[in-house]
Every structure is written in structure tokens, then in C-alpha cells.
Symmetry: C2
Subunit: 179 residues, 2 copies
Amino acid sequence: MDKNKSAFSFALLGLIGKAELSGYDLRKIFASTPMRSFSDSPGAIYPALQRLERMGFVRGRRDGAGGRKRVVFAVTARGRSEFGKWLAQPITRDDVIRRMDALMLKFAFLDQFGTKGAARRFLKALSRELASYIPELRTYLAKHGAHLPKSGRLALESGIRSYEEQLRWTKSSRAEYRG
Amino acid sequence: MDKNKSAFSFALLGLIGKAELSGYDLRKIFASTPMRSFSDSPGAIYPALQRLERMGFVRGRRDGAGGRKRVVFAVTARGRSEFGKWLAQPITRDDVIRRMDALMLKFAFLDQFGTKGAARRFLKALSRELASYIPELRTYLAKHGAHLPKSGRLALESGIRSYEEQLRWTKSSRAEYRG
DNA sequence: GCTAACATGTAATCCGTTACATGATTAT
DNA sequence: ATAATCATGTAACGGATTACATGTTAGC
């Protein structure tokens, strides 16, 4: 349905896809692992789970253990298919510029849920986008760097270096998939 | 007023602070410079400018040139003061994890609009936060890396390497401020 | 008996996205 | 003439934040 679901929804979907989880489980993950970049607030998680259930991507069941009102969610067939579609979406320059976090999330799930060779193709495509974008930024820096305030120039350099490191990462990662 | 204004609002405020600009000028900046990560859509920019005007941070005037209906904005005293407060906010770990982009935006403006030595202090504080956060991520990787799917582990490594590169950047930048 | 941790939810608000709408000016 | 570019806006919608609300279970 909604083509532009947030990275957050897909984070939920992917985690629930690995193992059935409650909202509270997800909160703990987002509060205490490197996935901290996602919100662990109840106001974000519970409504998101309700939306996913309404759309038929997950199904929740009361977990009666001890009479506690715990709701454990599992991904449905439709949910898996939707997740698969998301994983398969081609990488755009806009993804690189504005949604790198979502790209990395996607990659993190790719080995478990992607099709054969998807991770390799992902790395190749990302590498291509980075290799085409970085020179543009370098050109801009060369042209305008001189009359930017120092911190402005350094901020731009930070962005470029970050992309360059990401590119080096794609190279070493591709090597791991070849090896 | 609103303590949690978006990075986007501050990008507008900072740019208008350097030189009076219209909404369309801002759209062009966000469409064609390394500030592409901000939205250049009219539905984002014009309402944001209206909000800033309503709050008294900018003032718009009709630019009559050629009878064209162009609205040029200038930052008010209150706007500058608000911007200054934003610049002076201390760096938190949460900023590093979830709002690095906003931090870099802030730094970009710091030489022009910050107080004396603000850029140096910023770099020192950022360096401290990174140096304390990176080992946490490394520890997590050491503990859980082995039983993560390969792409999951690599995604985590990407995040760590990105923070490490950012830390190296703070070092070379601090050197530029000493030099 | 009390506190901390477990566990799920709602309501108000704000902001960004997408899509639509409108009109003036410049270049061909 | 007409297309491209300049220029500003609105409306519907959705998702995230913050703050509030509520109740259970386990350990001391």
C-alpha cells in the first residue's frame, strides 16, 4: 500500500521477522543496542505496531503468561512480502543523500531476508552512487571552499570524508562477500 | 519559545542570517548545493518561513522589483538571539546518535554566528562524546558480532567506522583552529 | 507495604510530504 | 504563441514527539 513507509516501520517489521516480539521488547532493543537511533518511546512504537497490524503486516496475540497483558507480534505472509519489496528497491542518489540510515538498516537485514546475492548487489549499487556523488561534492568544495567561513568549509569536508569512509566500507565489505 | 525546533528551521534562520533571502532562493540552495539533505519543496519551506515570521524570528518584505511578488526575509534581533541560543546548546550523546546532521549544521554556522572560541569548544565536546560512545559500540560488536548475520555485523561496523572517521575529523579540525 | 521494572496505551501538537493551484516574467 | 523558469502558496495526510494515564508483577 503506502509506498513511503518510514524506516522505523521497517525496523519493527525486520526485528519481528527474526523473532516474535512485543512492543516492550522492541522498546528495550531501541533503548539499549546500537539501534538506539530509533525511538524507544511508547508513543512511537505502539501506534506503529497498530498501523502495521491494521495493514495486515503483523499479527498480535495476547501472551497469557502469568496473566500479564503482553502482546506478542508476528509477521504475516503479506508483511514478509512487503518487507521483501522494500529490500529490493533500487538505491537512488536521494537515498544516499537523505536516507543513508535507512539504507544501512536495509543492508543489515539483507542476509536474513533478501534474495540470493542481494547484499552483493546492494554494495555494488551503493558503491556506484557514492563514487558518482563524492566528486560532485569535491568540485563544490574546490570552487567555493575558499570563500566559506572556516567552520562551514570544515563541515562540508566532514560530509565528504563521511561519504568517502562509507565508500571504503563498501569495498572491504564486498571483499568479505567474495572471500 | 519552542525548544525543539527542527534543524530545518535553523538552516533557514542561519542562511537568512548571512544574507536576506526569499523562499525561492532557499529552494535553490537546497536543490543545488551540498545542503541537499534539506527539503527544497514549497510545502516545507513556505510554511516554515511563515512560522518563523509568526514567532518573530524573521521579517518578510515584498520585493517590488519589476512588480514581481517576491518576498525577501531578514532575521530579527529575536531571531539572532534564538539562533545564538541554539548554537550554544551543549552537545549530548543523544545528539551524536540521532542528530549528527543537526550538529554539523550548527558547526557550519559557528564561525559566523557563534561566540569567540565556540567552534573549538564544539569540536572538543564532540570529540569527547564520540570517544566515549565508540568503545560502547565496539564492545557490543565484540560481544554479539559472532552471532549476527554477516550483513548485520557489517552494518554495525559501518556505523562504528563512520563515528571513528568523524572523530578523526574533529582532530584535524581542532588542529586547524590551533594553527 | 513499597518501589522498581514490566507493559500498553491515548491525546495534543507539530512538522514534513505529496499533490495541487496560481500567476508573472523571460526566452525562443 | 508557448514553453520554461520564476515565485508563492494551500490542503490532506501521516508519522513522530511529548506528556499523560493506567495497571501488573517481582523483589525487598
